[in-house]
C-alpha cells in the first residue's frame, strides 16, 4: 500500500510542506502547498491533490457530456452543457464535409430543446468547447428523466469500474447515461425512475463517506453488482 495521507480541507489551508508535485486544486507557494477548494486533500508519492466536493464543470477533451440544444446558427448548434461555457456542435460534424448552409437545414437534425449525448472534441482556455457525436450511444436522447448532480461527484456515481451505475441499473431496471458534466438521463418505468432518483440523491449527499455502495444497496432493498 502506498503511503497516502488524507485530510478534509477548505480553501487556504496548508496541506503539506516540502517537495511535491501539485496535481490538482493545490496552490504552491515556495515549499508550501495550500488547498484551493473544499474537499479531501491527499498527499502521496504522486504529489499533492485535493478532491473537491463542490464546483462547476470545466470541460475536458474526450469527456462524455449530456447537453441541451438552446440555439443554432447557419453553421452550428449551441448546446448548454451545464458549464460556464456554452458548447458548439458544428454542422459539418453531423452533415459531413459537404455541408451547405443553403441546402441543409440544421433543424432537420436537432431542434432547440433537444437533449444530446456528446463528447468534448476540443477545448482550451481561449475558445468555447466543441462537441462531436462520433462514438457509440452518442446523439439525440429520445426520452428519459433528467437529473443534475454536483459534477465533482460524478466519479462516485459511476463507481469503481462502473460498479455504482451497475448497482442502480440492476436494482431499478433503468438505464443511466451519466455525463461528466453532472447531467444524468434515466430511462425506465416511472417507478424505476423514481427509485433511481432516490439513489442518485443519496450518492450526492453522502459522496464523501465510506461504504457508499452498501448504503445505496440498502436503499434499493436488494443486492446489486459488487465491484
Amino acid at each position: 500500500m502506498p503511503d497516502i495521507r488524507r485530510k478534509y480541507v477548505i480553501p487556504g489551508e496548508l496541506i503539506a510542506e516540502g517537495n511535491y508535485r501539485p496535481v490538482a486544486n493545490v496552490l504552491r507557494v515556495g515549499e508550501k502547498y495550500y488547498s484551493t477548494r473544499v474537499g479531501m486533500a491527499e498527499v502521496g508519492h504522486e504529489g499533492v491533490r485535493v478532491i473537491p466536493l463542490s464546483g462547476p464543470y470545466i470541460p475536458r477533451v474526450d469527456d462524455l457530456v449530456v447537453g441541451k440544444v438552446v440555439d443554432y446558427s447557419a453553421f452550428a448548434w449551441e448546446v448548454d452543457i451545464n458549464s460556464c461555457f456554452f458548447a458548439f456542435l458544428p454542422a459539418q460534424s453531423v452533415f459531413g464535409r459537404d455541408y451547405s448552409p443553403a441546402e441543409d437545414s440544421l433543424t432537420s437534425k436537432f431542434a432547440v430543446g433537444d437533449m444530446l449525448a456528446a463528447k468534448i472534441f476540443a477545448f482550451d482556455r481561449t475558445r468555447d468547447p466543441l462537441l462531436g457525436l462520433a462514438g457509440p450511444g452518442l446523439g439525440r436522447i429520445p426520452r428519459g428523466e433528467i437529473v443534475k448532480i454536483t459534477p465533482t461527484k460524478v466519479p462516485r456515481l459511476i463507481g469503481k469500474r462502473g460498479s455504482m451505475i451497475r448497482t442502480i441499473e440492476m436494482a431499478t431496471n433503468c438505464r443511466l447515461t451519466i455525463g461528466q458534466n453532472g447531467v444524468v438521463v434515466i430511462n425506465g418505468s416511472p417507478d424505476g425512475v423514481l427509485m433511481s432518483l432516490k439513489a442518485i440523491k443519496l450518492v450526492e449527499e453522502e459522496a464523501h463517506t465510506a461504504d457508499l455502495t452498501q448504503k445505496v444497496q440498502a436503499l434499493l432493498g436488494q443486492r446489486g453488482a459488487t465491484a
Binding site: 440555439d71 456554452f86 428523466e145
Partner: protein
C-alpha cells in the same frame, strides 16, 4: 437569443415525461396532484420589522417584512389607512433573476398578492386613521424572494399574511397638531385570513402548488384567494393556455378546501385565533 432565454429553453422530453406521469396521477417528486409540498411558516424572524415571516414551500423561500409607519391618506379615502404590498425577486433567488427594476412577472405577482389581501378586507383600514384626512397609518408589506422553485404566488401571499397576523405596531397620538409615538403597541385590526391557492394545468392534468419544473411546462395557471368564510375574494389566471368551465369550477372547490387547511397552518404558526 439572450442568456436568460437560452437557459429557460425547456427540454421537450421533460414535458413528455411529465405529462405521461401526471396521466397516472403521479408527480416527479412523489406528490399526489392535489398535494402541497411541505409548508413551513416562521414568524418574528426580523425583530426590526413590525411583523415578519419566512415561508418555505418545498425549495421556494420568501421573507415578508411589515413596517407600519405614518402617512397621508389618499384624497379620495381620507378615512382609511394605507396598505402597500411590494415584492422583489432578488437576484440571488435564481440563476435567471437579474438586478434592476422588477419585470412584468414580479409586478403581476405583487399586485395579485396585494389584491388577495386588500379585497378580502383582511385589514380594517378604517381603524388605521389618526386624524381623518391628515394622518393615517401606512402598512408596508415588503417581500424578498430568496429562492425560487415554483408557486411564488402562494408562498408570497402566505408570507405577507403571516407577517400581518403577527405584526405589532406603535400607536401614535396627535399633540398640538404634531404626531408623537406612544408606548402602546397593538396588533393590526384584522377581520379575516385570506389564503390563495394556485393550480397549474399541464396537458390535461390539474395540479396544485407547481414546482419550477412544472411551471416551465405548464399551459396555464390559476390563483384563487378565499377568506375565512370560504368566499372567493380574488383571482387571477395567467399564462397563454386555457381552463375549461369544469376546471374553473373544480378549481374553486380546490381553493376552498386547500385554503382551509392552509389557514389552519397560518393560525398555528402565528398564534392568531380571530
Amino acid at each position: 437569443m439572450s442568456a436568460v432565454k437560452k437557459s429557460l429553453v425547456v427540454e421537450q422530453l421533460r414535458r413528455n415525461q411529465m405529462i405521461e406521469l401526471l396521466a397516472q396521477g403521479k408527480r416527479m417528486d412523489g406528490r399526489g396532484l392535489l398535494d402541497y409540498r411541505a409548508i413551513k411558516i416562521e414568524t418574528g424572524i426580523i425583530p426590526k420589522a413590525s411583523g415578519s415571516a419566512k415561508v418555505t414551500i418545498g425549495d421556494t423561500q420568501v421573507i415578508a417584512g411589515v413596517k407600519v409607519e405614518t402617512g397621508t391618506p389618499f384624497p379620495d379615502t381620507p378615512d382609511q389607512g394605507l396598505l402597500i404590498v411590494n415584492a422583489e425577486l432578488l437576484p440571488l433567488s435564481s440563476p435567471y433573476a437579474e438586478p434592476g427594476p422588477p419585470d412584468e412577472g414580479v409586478i403581476e405577482l405583487a399586485r395579485v398578492v396585494d389584491r388577495g389581501i386588500r379585497e378580502s378586507q383582511m385589514i380594517d383600514v378604517s381603524q388605521l386613521v389618526i386624524k381623518e384626512g391628515e394622518k393615517v397609518y401606512a402598512v408596508f408589506a415588503d417581500v424578498s424572494i430568496l429562492n425560487t422553485d415554483g408557486n411564488l404566488f402562494d408562498t408570497t401571499s402566505y408570507a405577507v399574511v403571516a407577517a400581518l397576523l403577527s405584526a405589532k405596531y406603535t400607536k401614535y397620538e396627535m399633540v398640538d397638531g404634531k404626531l408623537r409615538p406612544t408606548e402602546v403597541k397593538e396588533a393590526l385590526p384584522l377581520r379575516t385570513i385570506p389564503v390563495s391557492v394556485t393550480i397549474a394545468k399541464i396537458g390535461d392534468s390539474i395540479v396544485v402548488d407547481p414546482t419550477d419544473e412544472e411551471e416551465a411546462v405548464m399551459d396555464a395557471r390559476l390563483t384563487l384567494t378565499t377568506d375565512s368564510n370560504g368566499n372567493i375574494c380574488a383571482g387571477q389566471k395567467g399564462e397563454p393556455g386555457t381552463f375549461s368551465f369544469d376546471q374553473m369550477l373544480s378549481g374553486a372547490d380546490t381553493s376552498r378546501m386547500k385554503g382551509q387547511e392552509i389557514r389552519n397552518l397560518l393560525k398555528e404558526a402565528t398564534g392568531y385565533t380571530g
